[in-house]
Amino acid sequence: MADPGRGPVVVTGAGSGIGRAVAEAFARQGATVVALARSTDATGELAAQHDSVVSLSMDVTVEDSVVDVAAQVTRDHGAPSALVTCAAAGAAAGPTESLSLSAWRDALECDLTGTFLSNREFGRPMLKAGYGRIVNMTSFHTVATYPQRAAYVAAKSGVEGLVKGLAVEWGGRGVTVNAVAPGPIRTPRTQFFLDSDPANEAGMIGRTPAGRIGELPDVVAAVSFLAGPDAAWISGQVLVVDGGWTSNAWWGQHPFRP
C-alpha cells in the first residue's frame, strides 16, 4: 500500500528488528527507502541487496545528525512520503528504585527526543509538500506494562503524546501522524528474553489470546496500512498489534484453548 508516485520512505532504526523488516518490505514493494541507523553495517547490506535502498548513518539523539540527514535526503530524493521511526534504546529494564538518571535519560533521549527530532526534521518537508505519513513505533506497554520498565513506558507514552500533538497540529496540512504499538514480537531483542528461560515463552503465549508470539510481518503490515494512501483520514491513533493481549484480563491459560 505504499504510494509509488511520491517521495522516499524514511525508516529510522533500520539496522535490525522491526525497522529492518519495515525497510525490506517497502523496498520489495519498489519504494525508494532511506534506511537510517547509527551504524551503516546492517543498512549497507540492505542497500547492497536492493537497488531502491539508500543507507545513511544517523544518530537520532544528535540534533545536528538528524538535521543534516533530513536535509540531505530531501535534497537528493525529495520530500519523504512516509517516515517510520523504529530507533529505540535498550529497554532500561530493572528496579526503578535504583534506576540511574543516566539510564533514564538514555531511554528518553533515544525513544522520545529522538522521535521528536526525526518527526520535526522529516515532517517539515512533508508539510511543505502538503503530504506525509508518519508512523512512530511505540509499544503495548503504553496500554498495560510489566514491572521494571518505567523508563521505557514513560518514553513510549511520551511518543504517543507527541503523536496526538502532531496529528492535531499537522492534520490540516496533509500529514497524518500515528503510532503502531506492537505486543510481544519475535525480534532479536525479545528472542534473548525468550531464550533466557523456557517459561517466558510459555507465559507469553498463555497470556496472548491468539496463542502465538507476533512476527515481524504482523507489525510491518500495520505500518504499511498506516503509511499508505488509503489511511487518509486516520490520524492521532495508536494501532495495537498484540494478538489480543491488552484486551485480555484472563489469568493463566485461556479456558477455551484446544
Binding site: K164, A167, S224, P258
Partner: protein
C-alpha cells in the same frame, strides 16, 4: 506485500450495504477480491446493492433482513452462507441513530436502537461465530462510534448501544474466540458524510464547525472507513484482535476550540 491486503477467496456478509458506509465497505471488500453478501432491509435494496457490484465485475449476492426483527436476524447468517456457498467474515455496519435529548427518548426510540445497534449486532456475531469457530478461521469487524468514548448531546442511547456496548462486545469476542483463530475488531468512525449525516453536512454552519474542529479540516468519506475495515479483515491484520481503530481525521485527539 500487496497480497497482505487481498481478500481473494473470502466470503463476507456486510449489513447496511445499500447505502453510505455499508455500500462503501461492500465495494472495497469486493474490489479486494471478496465475495460479498450485501444485506439490506428490503430485497429491492439488497438486489440493487449487489447488482451495482456485479455490474463492476465484482462478486456479490443479495441477502435480506430487517434487523429490527429477531427472526429475520437469526436467518441472515445461514442465508449468507447458502448464498455465498461459504462464509469467512462479517461486517456489522447497519445501525439506527435517533437524535433525541436523553429526557425525550421514548420507549420505542430506545427499543429501536437497542434492537438494531446492540441485539442484532450481538446475534449476528454469535451466528457468525457458530460458523467460523468450527472452521478455525474468520474475522468480524463491527462499526461502532466515537460515542463509545465521548459524550455527544442527543446521542446518549446511540452511544450506549452502538458505541460502548459494541466496542466491549467486540473486545470480549476477540479474547473468547482468538484460540480458534477467529478475530474480532471494531472501527469507530468520526464525522462521516453519509445519507445518515447528510442533514448535518448540508447545513453550512454545521459543516463549517466540523471543518474547524477536525484537525484534518474535512469530514470523512465512506471510503476512509472502508479502508480501515479492509485492513482489519485482511491477512495484514492477522495478529490484530480486540482493537478499535478510530477513523476521525484526528477529531478525538483534538481539544481545539475550533476558532
Amino acid at each position: 506485500m500487496t497480497d497482505l491486503f487481498s481478500l481473494a477467496g473470502e466470503k463476507v456478509l456486510v449489513t447496511g450495504s445499500s447505502s453510505g458506509l455499508g455500500a462503501a465497505v461492500a465495494g472495497m471488500l469486493a474490489e479486494a477480491g471478496a465475495t460479498v453478501a450485501c444485506a439490506a432491509r428490503t430485497s429491492a435494496k439488497a438486489e440493487a446493492a449487489a447488482r451495482l457490484l456485479v455490474g463492476r465485475g465484482l462478486a456479490a449476492v443479495p441477502v435480506v433482513a430487517d434487523l429490527a426483527d429477531e427472526g429475520q436476524v437469526d436467518a441472515l447468517v445461514p442465508a449468507a452462507v447458502e448464498a455465498m456457498d461459504g462464509f469467512t467474515g462479517l461486517v456489522n455496519v447497519a445501525g439506527v441513530q435517533l437524535r433525541r435529548p436523553a429526557v425525550d427518548v421514548s420507549r420505542d426510540d430506545l427499543r429501536a436502537m437497542v434492537h438494531v445497534n446492540l441485539e442484532a449486532t450481538y446475534l449476528l456475531c454469535a451466528a457468525a461465530g457458530r460458523v467460523l469457530l468450527p472452521q478455525g478461521r474468520g474475522s468480524v469487524v463491527n462499526v461502532t462510534s466515537l460515542t463509545a468514548q465521548f459524550g455527544l448531546p442527543s446521542l446518549s442511547v446511540y452511544g450506549a448501544t452502538r458505541g460502548g456496548s459494541v466496542q466491549q462486545l467486540t473486545r470480549a469476542l476477540a479474547v473468547e474466540w482468538a484460540p480458534s483463530g477467529v478475530r474480532a475488531n471494531a472501527v469507530a468512525p468520526g464525522r462521516i458524510r453519509t445519507p445518515m449525516t447528510e442533514g448535518l453536512f448540508a447545513d453550512d454552519e454545521t459543516r463549517g464547525s466540523f471543518e474547524r474542529h477536525i484537525p484534518m479540516g474535512r469530514g470523512g468519506r465512506p471510503v476512509d472507513v472502508a479502508a480501515a475495515v479492509l485492513y482489519l479483515l485482511s491477512p495484514a491484520a492477522a495478529y490484530v484482535t480486540g482493537h478499535t481503530l478510530v477513523v476521525d481525521g484526528g477529531w478525538s485527539v483534538s481539544g481545539s476550540l475550533g476558532g
